[in-house]
């Protein structure tokens, strides 16, 4: 009796513990962005923009920038669809200012989306910054299964380590205010 009981208890504990490990908590401001590998974008311009190697997975800290704005989205999410023009405007504002364009970059990560789905989103909203796939939800799990759209602003240090400056669900609201907020926080 005792043996079966202990056996059962240990099985439940094991399952429970492994599940609680599977869901990570969402990294907050001041913390590092998870050191997880990201699948590269398909097109050459996007690869050059990020300054990474072609056809090779990369880590966020390898992106050639001081600040990376990470948008977690899904092609299927209506709120992300509505947010797309605002993020495009943010991108255009960054590109307009020489001092910013090489320092602040944007990366969209499509939670649970395939390449086909991400491509549709990109062409539908004429998005000029790279969108990558997270078809197996690996990244989505590592950041605590956030609702979409979710935005991180991440500082990339010269040694490739990262520090989150902003971590929040929902719209970026007014793109120019958002950009000012980033510039202030990053001390650019």
């Amino acid at each position: 009796m005792n043996k079966t009981l202990y056996f059962l208890i240990s099985i439940f504990v094991l399952i429970f513990v492994s599940y609680s490990f599977a869901i990570q908590k969402t990294p907050a401001e001041g913390e590092q962005f998870p050191d997880i590998s990201i699948k590269p974008p398909e097109n050459k311009d996007d690869i050059d923009y990020l300054g990474i190697k072609e056809k090779k997975s990369f880590k966020l800290g390898q992106i050639k920038a001081d600040i990376v704005i990470v948008e977690i989205f899904s092609m299927y999410c209506p709120y992300c669809q509505k947010e797309a023009p605002a993020v495009n405007e943010l991108f255009n504002k960054i590109q307009e200012i020489n001092n910013y364009k090489n320092h602040i970059k944007i990366l969209g990560i499509g939670a649970g989306n395939t390449q086909f789905e991400v491509n549709l989103f990109k062409s539908q909203y004429d998005i000029k910054f790279p969108l990558v796939i997270d078809d197996d939800f690996k990244i989505h799990k590592a950041i605590g299964e956030v609702r979409t759209p979710y935005f991180f602003v991440v500082k990339i240090n010269s040694d490739g380590s990262t520090k989150i400056l902003y971590s929040k669900v929902g719209s970026i609201q007014e793109p120019s205010d958002f950009l000012n907020m980033i510039v202030n926080k990053a001390g650019l």
Binding site: I9, Y76, T148, V169
Partner: protein
Amino acid sequence: MKNRASFIIYFLIILLFLSFTVLGALAASEQFKGKIFNPGVLKPILTKTHLKKGMKAPDFSLPSISGEKVSLSQFRGKKNVVISFVPAAWTPVCSDQWPGYNIAKSLFEKNNAILLGITVDNIPTLYAWTKEMGDLWFPVLSDFYPHGAVAKKYGILRTDGVSERALFVIDKKGIIRYIDVHDINSRPNLEMLIKELEKLEK
């Protein structure tokens, strides 16, 4: 001693279930925040449809949220038809599937196809739910009364009263060309569907 042991087991089982419900969330959109009921992980498929590729698609006529009735036969000779049955309004996977189709309009049009979205919910529920998605370009039909009659005709009415998450591709002649009765817990990927549409005569 025995009582205490069963209490511990009981407690652990509850913990386990709690952890499962937490896992049920699937990249939920911020739009529906707090409005989506989470049914947890369901049995993937409960029915086996009698319909097969090459068979004539059963005709039906259902009320849509815009007011008019829509029947399958009205597209005969004019358009290819995709029927997307989703289990229920206000649930996690379904609330994402149609907004995705909503931005894929051009892909349907390119293949001379119309999309019909069907659930067993009533019109007011469907109206409120689809309003959250923005304007949908395709008709949304209610298979509410007699309950799930069309889902039953297509062999996909589950024993729990909702339909399976199923896709039927029907060509201009009214012949079924593709069936995907999907795991109710996950979203069929769009690419497969579009590939099937591309095979059809426009």
